[in-house]
Symmetry: C2
Subunit: 414 residues, 2 copies
């Protein structure tokens, strides 16, 4: 039995667009992997009336069906933290201070020095919870979380809004409680990526024809990204998932992958290979992505940003005549770029990107979105892959750099 | 008169936590700059019943007060796009296809090849809008947006969920309509950026002491970014805003700026200057940011990514001994990097970045976050600025590349 799940986040910085709420999505993702679907996210400013009204409607809904409300934020020490006060108004309960949390808070504040010790009394409210509720320890920060009853099989969970405190409390304290409150069967999951295919085409070609066979006992979801779509399948039936993935691999052998960012990072690290890049239209975006994971210095050497034609010649040795004859965005220039690059850096892998990111610079023959990606493999072999990517300047640059990872993935898989 | 504003985003990928809703925060931020506050964000899965229920309560609320609902998502071509259908159910209206959008869609799909042409009839629904509503053209993608009435002075705006399409539609089509629908006294606004100062310190040092004098007739807001905070002041009283900004400039002469990204782009273009970069820990992020605006090819030449020490020597000519004596993250290496860079590229401006992005590699003397930024100015003068940036790997890299723009800004201002 699954409850009707609502995730509620509070904070005026969220509804003013000054901060991005990453908590709700993170919680939803964790719940999804546990096999639960969220019915609604709500974000409210730090306004006790608006918050109370929302909690009241959750409580009303709980008269009809099991409701699970998961709320983050508003448990801090400042005057605009209203969660506890609002919950007490909702339930008519009183609150009490958790002795353990109070001791911990005192210790932390005393260690910080006198100015903090002086304001201690003002911050004790973080250690209060409603009487008779299940508490959730905070092993990262101060504020104590709690689970309050909303009616039969219905609960309101309150957790701090600081992501590091909330995620730890969720995984270590809340999940075990949820499993007791709402027991259910284990759910399995598979994720695959498909490249250069639209969501709607995938649905037409794969989901529809297999709807009766697969998707009565399995759930599917698709997330569109720049260059690829992420396909997620869930079921309690493990062998059904295997069958789905096998069908997917058979139908799309050339465009399927796992998480290419993770795979490229792991394989390059493991195999002791090195890589360098020569970027024109992406201006450094591929290098930036390659150096996102900590530890990328094990394989990423560096490279050249050759945005102007002069730089292609002076930094990479691309012959001026090649650029003049074929244009800066051409198979020939992409080849010369990656060749010159690897001669200079000595890396086992090399990638060159040259393209028209737009909005200006397109022609009939080479429209905006035309991108050539050169790949130099450890064998010394060079191949160039030409694309026409959709969307605006940002989209084309994202597509190009992500697709470079896919080319690396395919080469590393060989 | 301000309406009661609710931002509604739909998408099962959002409530499953597979994608992060950046639209709602972005819209709230834009509305804030127009002087409007948002009362609630709601996020729903692609479930027509849940969506209809939510729209119905908005319509009910509109009987009591002016309501503005701004909805994103669900206007796409697939079966889980329910926005139009739900709005029609809510209003009892019929829909019709916008001819211009249909022609545009046909052209795009035909260009993509036969398999896309074949599914054309299935995707025409994106060009439909409810009869008698105000339409919002989509100049980036396909789906047409619209404004539907919800009652007296109350409206529901529906826009596509793809951020690039939505933001363009919002700025170019929706804002002028909103200004007509909810006319209000002209609100003036000033935005200034302050570098390397925390939100709470700014509030203590500037807002609190000036609360009585300034902030009875002016609103203020702060957005924290990587390296800087954006301070926004709003008032109908233009001369009060001038006074506030003057006080700010007097109090923070060394850390204040305008929008450095825009300023650097405009000045470099206008003055016919050129720039190149030498990046270590940022791995290409600065080059990527410099090439975000279309037209950056007028001044951005390129540069070198020298992630490994060998590359610093081979690509930029940094003496091996300098790296050995002072370490790769040092004033000396940053100097040698930017010097070698400009000798090779011949650009008027040069920037070098070398630092410890972490989480590993920090020492007692040079902790994680230590970054040296070298600046070579048109005069040939080289200066190096050393920082310790806060946060994780991503934060440190963002801080470093943004601060490089601030240094350029200061130099261009001279």
């Amino acid at each position: 039995m699954s409850p009707y799940i609502v995730i509620l986040s509070t904070g005026s910085e969220l509804t003013a667009g000054r901060s991005l709420d990453t908590n709700s999505g993170w919680i939803a993702n964790q719940l999804f992997e546990l096999g639960w679907k969220v019915k609604k996210f709500i974000t409210l400013p730090d306004d006790p009336n608006l918050i109370l009204k929302e909690l009241q409607s959750l409580k009303d809904l709980a008269k009809e069906l099991p409701v699970l409300g998961i709320m983050t934020g508003g448990l801090g020490p400042t005057e605009d933290d209203y969660t506890l006060e609002t919950v007490l108004k909702l339930t008519g309960k009183t609150s009490y201070s958790i002795e353990k949390a109070k001791l911990r808070l005192t210790k932390i504040y005393e260690a910080r020095g006198k100015e903090y010790k002086d304001i201690l009394p003002n911050v004790f409210r973080q250690t209060f919870v409603p009487e008779g509720c299940k508490t959730l320890d905070n092993s990262v920060g101060i504020a104590v979380g709690f689970i309050e009853s909303l009616g039969e099989n219905s609960y309101l969970v309150c957790m701090p809004g600081v992501p590091s405190e909330m995620t730890e409390m969720f995984k270590r304290r809340l999940v075990p409680e949820l499993k007791k409150l709402y027991p259910r069967e284990n759910l399995n999951q598979r994720t695959k990526w498909l490249w250069n295919i639209g969501e709607s085409l995938f649905q037409n070609d794969f989901i529809e024809p297999n709807r009766d066979e697969f998707f009565k006992d399995a759930e599917w979801g698709v997330t569109a990204n720049r260059g690829y779509i992420k396909c997620i399948f869930q079921s309690t039936n493990e062998s059904l998932l295997e069958t789905i993935v096998h069908r997917l691999e058979t139908q799309y052998p050339k465009i399927i992958s796992e998480d290419v960012f993770q795979y490229v990072h792991e394989q390059l690290s493991k195999m002791g290979l090195t890589i360098s890049v020569a970027e024109s239209c992406t201006g450094g975006l591929l290098g930036k992505k390659l150096t996102e994971p900590s530890g990328s210095s094990a394989y990423f050497l560096g490279g050249c940003l050759t945005y102007s034609n002069e730089m292609k010649t002076s930094l990479l040795g691309v012959p001026k005549e090649t650029i003049e004859s074929f244009g800066a965005v051409s198979v020939e220039v992409a080849t010369a770029m990656v060749k010159g690059l690897c001669e200079r850096t000595g890396s086992t892998y090399g990638i060159s990107i040259t393209g028209i990111a737009g909005p200006l610079g397109g022609t009939e023959v080479k429209p905006v979105g035309t991108v050539c990606i050169g790949l130099r493999e450890p064998s010394g072999e060079i191949s160039v892959h030409q694309y026409i990517f959709p969307g605006n300047r940002e989209s084309i640059r994202e597509n190009a750099s992500n697709t470079a990872f896919f080319l690396l993935y395919q080469s590393l898989k060989k």
